[in-house]
């Protein structure tokens, strides 16, 4: 601040203008920093999505996000609204839903394929999140965009076997 004129009013106005500019500068600098911070957090989240079956490695993710391990979980939550652990858990459950719906692979096989190491934990987690057991989900889920030849072959009411796709699926696994 120059403060040369000695005029109180002018000086105040000048102070305000300078403060305003400073604030603008600060805000801009801050938002650029937030952008870089966000982008690094997103990079860590993408790493989880890309390798969701691998164990949660906070040290590695913190490295990708360029923050300390202790800070990472808090920072991730501040950016995306949930902890990395929860994010990964729900990604795995989403993948499980996809595999249950779109493939005929056994539940145990899917459980290990998406990164769970215990069937009990997987079943409990799945039920907590989806509100149904994996088997029940599979039975009720609609296969999406299946080629018409399949729906025609499998969903036609028939006296030769189970009357619906879901029942056939359940019967086969039991």
């Amino acid at each position: 601040m120059c403060g040369v004129t000695g005029d109180r009013y002018e000086r105040t106005e000048a102070d305000c203008a300078t403060a305003g500019l400073l604030a603008c500068g600060l805000i801009t600098t801050m938002s650029r920093a937030i952008e870089e911070f966000n982008r690094r957090q997103l990079r860590a989240r993408d790493a989880m999505d890309r390798a969701y079956a691998q164990p949660l490695d906070i040290a590695r993710l913190a490295g990708i996000a360029c923050v300390s391990e202790a800070h990472f979980i808090r920072a991730f939550r501040a950016t995306f609204g949930e902890t990395p652990h929860r994010y990964l858990q729900r990604r795995r459950v989403e993948r499980a839903m996809f595999l249950l719906r779109e493939t005929s692979r056994a539940v145990t096989e899917i459980c290990f394929e998406i990164g769970f190491t215990s069937l009990g934990t997987f079943s409990r987690t799945f039920h907590d999140i989806v509100g149904k057991s994996p088997t029940e989900y599979r039975r009720l889920a609609k296969v999406k965009a299946v080629p018409t030849c399949f729906t025609m072959a499998w969903t036609r009411p028939s006296s030769l076997g189970p009357s619906s796709f879901g029942e056939a699926d359940t019967a086969r696994r039991q």
């Binding site: 938002s31 982008r39 957090q41 997103l42 993408d46 080629p147």
Partner: protein, 142 residues
């Protein structure tokens, strides 16, 4: 009524960096790069595919106030712009390998889906792009 989608847009935070990514790495070509004075009209397209341009638009004044642009930038960088662009390829695996060799950030490795094989890609700013090799129509009708 309407007969085509001619132009869509992706918000980018820096147009030179966007050119480097969308043209240099993704392999699109510049269809327009005009300094309109108030903005740089920068569009890209799939080489040899006129009529479908993507505007690489930089948010900021005078189109929007600085504070709004800042909010937008913050959202884009945390991936909140959602699914911004979908492209097709004849060979997903080869495209994937090319993009990896060029240092492109991959969000999803090649995955077989009901509609084909696809990968997920992140642009330098946080926008999500998907590239799919569609299943052959002949297979779909089998």
């Amino acid at each position: 009524m309407l007969n085509s989608i001619s132009i869509s847009h992706v918000f980018v935070l820096d147009q030179d960096q966007a050119l480097d990514f969308y043209v240099g790495k993704l392999g699109l070509e510049v269809s327009n790069d005009l300094d309109l004075g108030f903005m740089r009209w920068l569009t890209v397209r799939v080489p040899g595919q006129p009529g479908r341009d993507v505007l690489l638009e930089k948010p900021g004044p005078p189109a929007m106030d600085e504070a709004s642009a800042d909010q937008l930038r913050e959202l884009i960088t945390k991936g909140a712009s959602g699914f911004t662009l979908g492209l097709t390829t004849n060979d997903c695996q080869k495209t994937y390998e090319t993009l990896v060799s060029r240092g492109v950030e991959i969000t999803q490795e090649p995955t077989e889906q009901s509609y084909g094989t696809d990968i997920g890609v992140r642009d330098p700013f946080g926008n999500h792009i998907r590239i799919v090799q569609p299943v052959q129509v002949a297979t779909q009708r089998s």
